[in-house]
């Protein structure tokens, strides 16, 4: 479904991704693991074209994304949940959801506001509250719900467990499994190996913008040296 090959991405002169390639198949939940600065968020932004790669290709269902504006990528069926949440703080929960609303898409689960409130019950209670008056966990749920309003076929989740209370992290994990059950494909970046293992089918480990591991969590278990070298536990 998503095919990334040999992408090089830069922040100004800083070379962040050095020829990264991997793919995500339909229905899969893939975890992108690695330390701070390994290039996880940059990978997400490079797919989304918020930071277009200088070279290489990103295809989604066979269509090239590199060079498209971000809104076209979103319209193609990729939903992006940024790491720093970026909730519209002056807008209410309902208004935040409205910004994300897009028409129904074939081959992707369709979401209504009520279904999303069922998935994230905390949001239902706070539907008229403004984004800025919500806790970190609630904001995280709101960004995911906002992105789901676009009925994406592929969800990019950038560090959803970061800076959130453990209780909420657990709830988040359940929600992600639920999304998977609905047929959504998910690429999730994580530092929390435990969380990643709970939700994902496959792990990809990044280090300095390169892939150092790509395989199942069982395979990762058998190579503790990789796990210890590239992940901070």
């Amino acid at each position: 479904m998503l095919e990334i090959s040999e992408i090089h991405s830069f922040y100004g002169k800083a070379h962040i991704l050095g020829g990264l390639s991997f793919s995500v198949a339909r229905g899969e939940v893939v975890a992108l693991l690695g330390r701070n600065g390994a290039g996880k968020s940059t990978t997400m932004k490079s797919v989304m074209q918020l930071l277009p790669p200088r070279s290489g290709s990103v295809t989604f269902e066979g269509h090239e994304l590199v060079g498209l504006p971000a809104y076209r990528v979103a319209k193609a069926g990729i939903g992006y949940v940024p790491e720093d949440r970026r909730v519209f703080s002056d807008l209410t929960v309902l208004e935040n959801l409205e910004v994300g609303r897009q028409p129904q898409r074939e081959g992707a689960p369709h979401w209504t506001v009520e279904q999303l409130f069922e998935l994230f019950p905390n949001l239902a209670e706070r539907r008229h509250n403004r984004g800025k008056h919500m806790s970190g966990g609630e904001q995280q749920m709101l960004t995911i719900a906002r992105t789901l309003m676009g009925n994406p076929a592929l969800l990019l989740l950038d560090e959803p467990s970061e800076g959130i209370a453990p209780v909420i992290v657990e709830q988040m994990a359940r929600s992600i499994l639920r999304l998977k059950a609905e047929g959504l494909t998910v690429l999730i970046s994580e530092q929390n190996l435990h969380f990643a293992r709970a939700v994902a089918d496959r792990a990809i480990i990044l280090e300095s913008g390169r892939k150092t591991f790509d395989g199942s969590f069982e395979a990762l278990e058998k190579q503790p040296e990789i796990r210890d070298a590239y992940l901070s536990l």
């Binding site: 918020l50 504006p69 979103a74 992006y80 519209f88 807008l91 409205e98 910004v99 897009q102 676009g150």
Partner: protein, 619 residues
């Protein structure tokens, strides 16, 4: 009592057009972050188009239909401006777009002149609303009452649009984080065009609605833009209710000002604005601006370096050329070079706070004109010797900058820019309305240099030495520890504070220094022309300097100087033509689109590319 009520109602009626124009400006700024200087031009177009349509369409239906159509027409024009010009430069450095909007002002001015001619048009009376109604015995024009009734309806309609519709929600979301809105699948380009069209339409309606109370003329654009900025800033950038309250406040104040203190109307408005901003730095209902909240747009800035040997040789050659110029050039060339040097020093002083300090001032003319007036006033009223009066120009401008800077540096970004604009307008209105001191727009004349400097040749060298000296001094300061501290404060104020730099203090000193240098340029100017008029303090003068700095390149040291030479020369050649504003505007827009890093920045990039190609070729 009834008299006061009538004044109050007049103020309320005047608020209608002002609110429309201001809400459009505020809306556009909120979403696109473009400070649209051309907004006054759209208002003017609204007035002209309105007059024309009202002549064609008959009766009351025709009158109101004409107003409606005018707004739509101006909205289309605004959309065209956005698509043709602004869309290409959203990624350019912050506030670069305002140069483009200034180009648009010039183009619209000449187009209006071509289409409607130079004569002022009187607005037609509204059919059926010609007379007055008596309220407690005082006559109040019927049309005023209608306007007073319409304004809240417009506010309500806009409020509904912004708070209750999907478009409004997208607009508010984009005001906060437009990149995220794009990532959620919304085509920003069309959202921007839509908002720009709506904002323009509001300006157009403002222009058409005021017709029965005023008319249409070619000075409307600049006349309203200052007031509109004041309203938007007092209300808070991006706040519609704020714009409404401020429009009413300013209009009512104006109505009372005209009745009781006719000499102070212009000053009054800016005094109120300064007072509001000192108490509430982000306006009555505005929110704090957080610059670069979601990452910087574009590549990080490369540090500026002192010139290498080639640069020094080139500069020395240029200086030698200028010094030997009187040997072979015609006298008019000397006059042109004097103008260029004066303007270059003025621009370099603005570049110093803008490029190096990151403080975008919209009111730098206050110090140029302030210096010029300081010297001229001394000569005119007390016959002070020229040498002494000349020294007073940079001194007075520096002190003025210190005082104005003290208020302004508390703010940053657009609010800083607006407050500097307000203060410069304050200075301008003093020069314009304090006739007993400044002779108003008759200006101060017969301000000639001392005998030993009188004559083109001595004054040429006098200007060359002081002007070039001033520019080199500024350059030197940029490379001094003070310059480093200033740049540190620009790039990362918190980091700089943590390192022990008193950022605000450094900025204040830099602001005063820039004011002093602008004053020096003003001093050179007044004795070269022999006179000074309030035009030297006008918004247009400040904009000239801004344009020059942006055209030359904000991120380069030579930017201001090159831009000034470019603009002065181009103006010199173009002003012979009838429609020179149109051509100049097109030239400016072309430079902005083709050279988004400014002339020097783009040339340097080309040179760098060539050099790289050279280095790679032998392999």
């Amino acid at each position: 009592m009834a008299f006061y009520l009538a004044l109050f109602l007049t103020g309320l009626a005047n608020a209608a057009a002002l609110f429309l124009v201001a809400s459009g400006l505020s809306l556009i700024f909120g979403v696109t972050r473009i400070v649209n200087f051309a907004h006054g031009s759209l208002y003017m177009l609204g007035a002209f188009i309105g007059v024309t349509l009202m002549q064609v369409l008959p009766g009351a239906v025709g009158f109101w239909g004409a107003i409606l159509l005018t707004g739509l027409a101006v909205g289309v024009i605004g959309a065209l401006v956005e698509i043709v010009v602004l869309r290409r430069i959203y990624r350019a450095p912050e506030l670069f777009q305002l140069v483009a909007t200034f180009g648009v002002i010039l183009v619209i001015q000449d187009l209006a002149l071509m289409i409607w001619g130079a004569e002022d048009r009187l607005g037609p009376r509204a059919p059926g609303l010609r007379g007055v109604w008596r309220i407690f015995g005082e006559p109040v024009p019927k049309y005023d009452i209608v306007l007073i009734a319409i304004t809240p309806v417009i506010l309500l309609a806009l409020w509904y649009l912004i708070t209750r519709t999907r478009l409004g929600i997208l607009v508010r979301a984009a005001t906060q984080d437009r990149e995220m809105v794009g990532a959620l699948g919304v085509n920003q380009a069309w959202l921007f065009t839509g908002v720009f069209a709506l904002g323009s339409a509001l300006a157009g309606w403002g222009g058409a609605l005021q017709l029965p109370k005023g008319g249409a003329d070619l000075l409307m654009d600049f006349n309203i833009i200052g007031t509109v900025f004041v309203v938007v800033v007092i209300g808070g950038m991006g706040s519609l209710p704020g714009a409404f309250i401020a429009a009413v406040l300013i209009s009512v104040l104006n109505a009372f000002g005209v009745a009781f203190l006719p000499q102070s109307t212009l000053v009054l408005m800016f005094v109120v604005m300064a007072a509001v901003l000192i108490v509430r730095p982000y306006g009555l209902l505005g929110r704090e601006e957080v610059a670069g909240e979601h990452g910087q747009v574009g590549a990080p800035e490369s540090p500026i370096r002192p010139y290498g040997p080639r640069g020094i040789v080139l500069t020395a050659f240029l200086l030698a050329l200028l010094a030997s110029l009187p040997g072979f050039a015609e006298p008019f060339v000397l006059t042109l070079v004097i103008d260029i040097v004066v303007f270059a020093l003025f621009a370099a002083s603005l570049h110093f706070i803008l490029g190096t300090g990151g403080m975008v001032s919209f009111g730098h003319a206050a110090f140029f004109g302030g210096g010029a007036y300081a010297a001229a006033l001394l000569v005119f009223h007390t016959d002070t010797p020229m040498e002494l009066a000349f020294l007073f120009a940079p001194l007075a401008a520096g002190l003025l900058a210190l005082a104005i800077g003290w208020f302004c540096i508390r703010l940053s970004g657009v609010y800083f820019a607006m407050l500097t604009l307000a203060f410069s307008q304050l200075v301008w209105s003093l020069a314009f309305q304090w006739r007993s001191l400044t002779r108003g727009d008759d200006g101060l004349i017969n301000i000639w240099p001392a005998d030993w400097l009188n004559g083109p040749l001595p004054y040429y060298y006098f200007t060359l030495i002081l002007g070039v000296g001033g520019i080199l001094t500024l350059r030197h300061i940029i490379h001094s520890p003070f310059g480093y501290a200033l740049r540190a404060g620009r790039d990362s104020p918190r980091q700089a504070e943590a390192m022990g730099i008193d950022v605000k203090r450094v900025q204040l000193v830099a602001f005063a220094l820039a004011g002093m240098m602008a004053g020096l340029a003003g001093g050179l100017f007044v004795f070269s022309k022999g006179s000074v008029f309030p035009t030297e303090l006008e918004i247009a003068k400040s904009f000239d300097a801004l344009i020059v700095v942006f055209l030359g390149g904000v991120k380069t040291l030579a930017g201001g100087v090159v831009g000034a030479s470019f603009l002065t020369s181009v103006e010199h050649w173009l002003t012979r033509l009838e429609y020179w504003r149109l051509l100049l505007g097109l030239v400016i827009i072309a430079v902005v689109i083709l050279m988004p890093e400014g002339i020097v920045g783009t040339l340097r990039r080309q040179a760098l590319r060539l050099r790289r190609a050279d280095e790679e070729a032998p392999r």
